[in-house]
């Protein structure tokens, strides 16, 4: 019997039914965006469906309304063709739309709109003045709007399970801190054997230096990043996964070897440093531990290096490795404001998760629609919270648009305060304030119930995954425990796993005080690291190392 339960558990890991359409849509209802694909007689309008299926699959269509279309991915075209065939066959038979056809149309339109969003985003070389202004006003004035009213008759402990492309309901047997590895395993992502990578190309988006690489053995694609988000992004991804959300798979890497080939965009360490400096104005030389040429001795130790004998290589003291697994193909934004997604409880409730980790950059671009596939299943859409690294204490300078994440002293000890009949949030966000304003007290309370499940051991494990220096990790542990309590208290949730914390934490290393009364001190040994954890000079000022 025990074996049977074990088998059932592993063969059906998600016991809850995953609902594709928002719960607000039922009885064959559909969002306005797909109405144009359904004729008056309730059959499929095949010409209109084909106009988008061809755009999504035809390699000879290279632009749309003057915008260059991104490269099409095989998994995406396969999925579109599978959806298309359902719709084509129904149209041929003049079948009236039913729930299954509505789901096919919904998925198709989601992929289409996300693909166009990605095309528009790629076409936009830099952030516009209008967007900068919006980010500024949202960060400064947005919080005035983030007051959530508490209803007079607030419901008691709420445990609704909402399994959807946005949210995973895990069995209780999988502890929150293991959600991240569980999800990663589903896409065969594992950074443990990734110690040598080959350089592909430099990524030119975002504000932190990064490169596209692939693993020497498995040929998996990765992105390597340096800077102030190395630790914060890993922590944030683990925390969001622990709460139930889908995330990027980011790992801390020490002593990663990067091989530069004759086909690489850069061929030496100097060219690499110069290129990243020219794009991001950031000097990554402090991360370079060793550089050299692949020698016979190295080939003898690792035969897979043989084709690269005589090529330059660089070893980095630390960096972040972000997976681009073959089983997970990225499209564009998951479109929080389209296709009735804004009615999803689990999406509105993510406000609480962003506030918990103090995430500043909550723009639409940092959401992601992807198709997840393994060898046995048809690809299914999943919504991912991506690029969560601008968190855990953020400093924003409005004089020169400089900002920096991972400043522990900037992270407040509380997330939210209850005043009269309102919840007042303290974290700043640069976007989507109006959307999150729609979150109700009960939406947030639903996620707070998930947060309550994170006990001391889970929190310790999630903090440790980020690989902060030990003293810093300890301070973050105490702060996050305090922040968790502030949420549970504000929403009257009984804490069945209380976590001890000390707001006046003092820590010493080799007789030198590192943390005094809950504050990381300047001029500690940490100042020798590539990124300062106390100096507010951010990515525009080389993290205080200029």
């Amino acid at each position: 019997m025990r074996n049977l339960i074990f088998l059932l558990f592993w063969s059906v890991p998600f016991l809850s039914f995953s609902q594709l359409l928002p719960a607000s849509l039922n009885n064959n209802a559909y969002p306005i965006e797909i109405a144009s694909y359904i004729k008056k007689d309730s059959t499929i309008d095949l010409d209109k469906v084909r106009s988008i299926t061809n755009l999504l699959t035809n390699p000879t269509i290279t632009s749309f309304q003057g915008i260059v279309l991104p490269k099409r991915k095989k998994t995406v075209t396969e999925k579109v063709k599978a959806l298309s065939e359902d719709l084509e066959f129904a149209a041929f038979r003049k079948k009236k739309v039913d729930q299954q056809l509505i789901e096919s149309l919904y998925t198709l339109q989601w992929i289409y709109l996300s693909y166009l969003q990605k095309a528009e985003n790629d076409a936009q070389a830099a952030i516009t003045i209008k967007e900068k202004y919006a980010m500024f006003t949202n960060s400064i004035f947005g919080l005035r709007k983030l007051h959530i009213k508490i209803p007079k008759t607030a419901s008691s402990q709420n445990s609704t399970d909402l399994s959807s492309p946005f949210f995973n309901v895990f069995p209780d047997t999988i502890r929150p801190e293991n959600h991240f590895d569980f999800l990663a395993k589903k896409t065969s992502t594992n950074a443990k054997n990734t110690s040598i990578v080959l350089l592909d190309s430099c990524s030119r988006n975002g504000s932190i230096p990064k490169f596209n690489v692939h693993d020497l053995v498995k040929n998996d694609e990765w992105i390597i990043k340096w800077g102030d988000e190395i630790n914060t992004e890993i922590f944030a991804s683990h925390m969001f996964a622990a709460l139930g959300y889908n995330v990027d798979f980011s790992y801390y890497s020490k002593n990663l070897t990067l091989i530069l080939t004759p086909n690489s965009e850069v061929k030496s360490a100097k060219e690499l440093i110069d290129l990243l400096k020219s794009i991001y104005s950031i000097d990554i030389s402090r991360y370079i531990q060793l550089e050299g040429i692949v020698s016979n001795e190295m080939v003898l130790n690792n035969g897979q290096l043989k084709p690269f004998l005589g090529n330059n290589f660089v070893v980095f003291s630390e960096c972040l490795l972000e997976a681009r697994p073959n089983q997970l193909k990225r499209i564009g934004s998951f479109l929080p404001l389209a296709l009735d997604n804004d009615t999803r409880i689990e999406l509105k409730a993510s406000l609480l998760a962003h506030q918990f980790i103090d995430n500043w950059d909550t723009r639409e671009e940092n959401t992601l629609l992807a198709l997840k596939k393994n060898k046995k299943t048809v690809a299914e859409p999943i919504a991912i919270f991506s690029d969560l690294g601008t968190c855990m204490g953020v400093s924003v300078s409005w004089l020169n648009r400089d900002f920096k994440a991972g400043l522990v002293n900037q992270l407040p000890w509380e997330v939210v305060k209850k005043r009269n009949n309102k919840l007042i949030f303290k974290g700043r966000m640069n976007a989507q304030i109006d959307f999150y304003k729609q979150a109700s007290y009960s939406d947030l309370r639903w996620l707070a119930v998930q947060l309550e499940k994170i006990d001391s051991s889970s929190l310790r494990s999630i903090v440790n995954s980020a690989n902060w220096p030990p003293e810093l990790a300890e301070l973050y542990f105490h702060k996050m425990a305090a922040r968790r309590v502030s949420i549970l208290k504000a929403m009257n949730i009984i804490d069945s796993h209380p976590i001890q914390f000390d707001r006046k934490l003092n820590l010493f290393k080799n007789g030198v005080q590192i943390i005094r009364r809950g504050k990381l001190l300047k001029r500690t040994y940490l100042k020798d690291l590539p990124v300062s954890y106390t100096c507010k000079k951010g990515r525009m000022r080389n993290y205080g190392n200029k």
Binding site: R50, T53, N54, L56, N58, P59, T60, E85, F92
Partner: protein, 316 residues
């Protein structure tokens, strides 16, 4: 060749290589005239000059070629086929492929493939039927050449399927309508239907040179820098072998549906696999020189479809 024609063809292939970069292959073909003896000689070959041919598989292919009654695809240098492949391990797969003819400018061919034919279904009479079920009796025609009523009905249904699907997101149809050479209209292809079916035995080889025996070529041209998982299974963990090309030796028999004519064709095909294609071309030139010295082969450019139609004198 007139210079203007040469420029036009060059421009066409430049367009093909930019828009359809992922849809092309770099090939050479050699016809085997005196069928059996040379075929057997190549079959048993292992070394040619500095190169070795490592045989790794023997597959069976069935191909149904489609064209309009006036052979409009052939006239414009294209072939369209449904393919069934049976590997030596008995794995079966199906695909729908569009190919352009090779020409005198270079050896690049357009190849567009739809490989998930299990997706497609249609209505025959009042019955729901899968595309593969429609194709199977036509593949079987190679065994007994009996044109049954069932096969004739399937040929008609495949024509109806094509007419319904011509604007659907199916790669060969998308490329027929926009390929930079001749963009076909639906009207031109309204009568598209199966006209030929062939059965081929294909022996496949990895073309390599062994740098442990002779390292002069490696010194001159370098190593094909491929990752372990980009290498074919048989070449993994064999660090001394430098992979240059894939070769396939085909022995095919084609049958028409309209009469009982049969033609047999044999050919050797070579496809560049070097990660820097220009170096691969130089190495294949060297291989070709030694191959032609050793054997009576003639360099060819016509596809098996064109050769078969020519011999069977249909559509001429």
């Amino acid at each position: 060749m007139e210079i203007s024609k040469y420029i036009l063809l060059t421009l066409f292939f430049l367009q093909l290589t930019s828009i359809h970069a992922q849809l092309t292959e770099d090939q050479r073909k050699f016809s085997i005239e005196n069928n059996d003896s040379i075929y057997k000689e190549i079959e048993s070959l292992s070394d040619i000059g500095d190169f070795s041919l490592l045989q790794h598989s023997k597959d069976i292919y069935y191909d149904i070629y489609l064209d309009s009654p006036d052979f409009t695809l052939k006239k414009h240098g294209f072939s369209l086929r449904f393919r069934k492949r049976i590997t030596q391990n008995n794995d079966i797969s199906y695909s729908f492929q569009l190919k352009s003819e090779m020409n005198e400018v270079n050896s690049i061919r357009l190849e567009a493939e739809e490989d998930n034919l299990e997706l497609y279904q249609f209505i025959q009479g009042t019955n729901k039927v899968s595309l593969i079920a429609l194709l199977e009796p036509l593949f079987q025609y190679t065994e007994n050449q009996v044109l049954s009523d069932g096969i004739q009905l399937n040929i008609q249904t495949i024509n109806e399927w094509i007419n319904f699907k011509f604007d659907a997101p199916i790669l060969p149809f998308q490329l027929l309508k926009n390929n930079g050479k001749h963009n076909f209209s639906k009207e031109e292809l309204i009568g598209l239907k199966p006209i030929l079916v062939g059965r081929s035995e294909r022996m496949r080889f990895h073309g390599v040179f062994n740098e442990e025996v002779n390292d002069s070529l490696t010194k001159m041209y370098g190593y094909n820098r491929l990752l372990e998982n980009e290498l074919p299974e048989h070449l993994k963990n064999k660090s001394g072998l430098n992979w240059i090309f894939e070769a396939s030796l085909d022995k095919s028999t084609f049958y028409t549906f309209q009469n009982k004519k049969v033609v047999q064709l044999s050919e050797l095909e070579i496809e560049n696999k070097f990660n820097q294609p220009s170096i691969g071309v130089q190495l294949i030139d060297a291989f070709e020189k030694q191959l032609l010295l050793k054997m009576k082969l003639s360099k060819g450019s016509s596809s098996k479809y064109v050769q078969a139609v020519r011999v069977l004198l249909i559509g001429e």
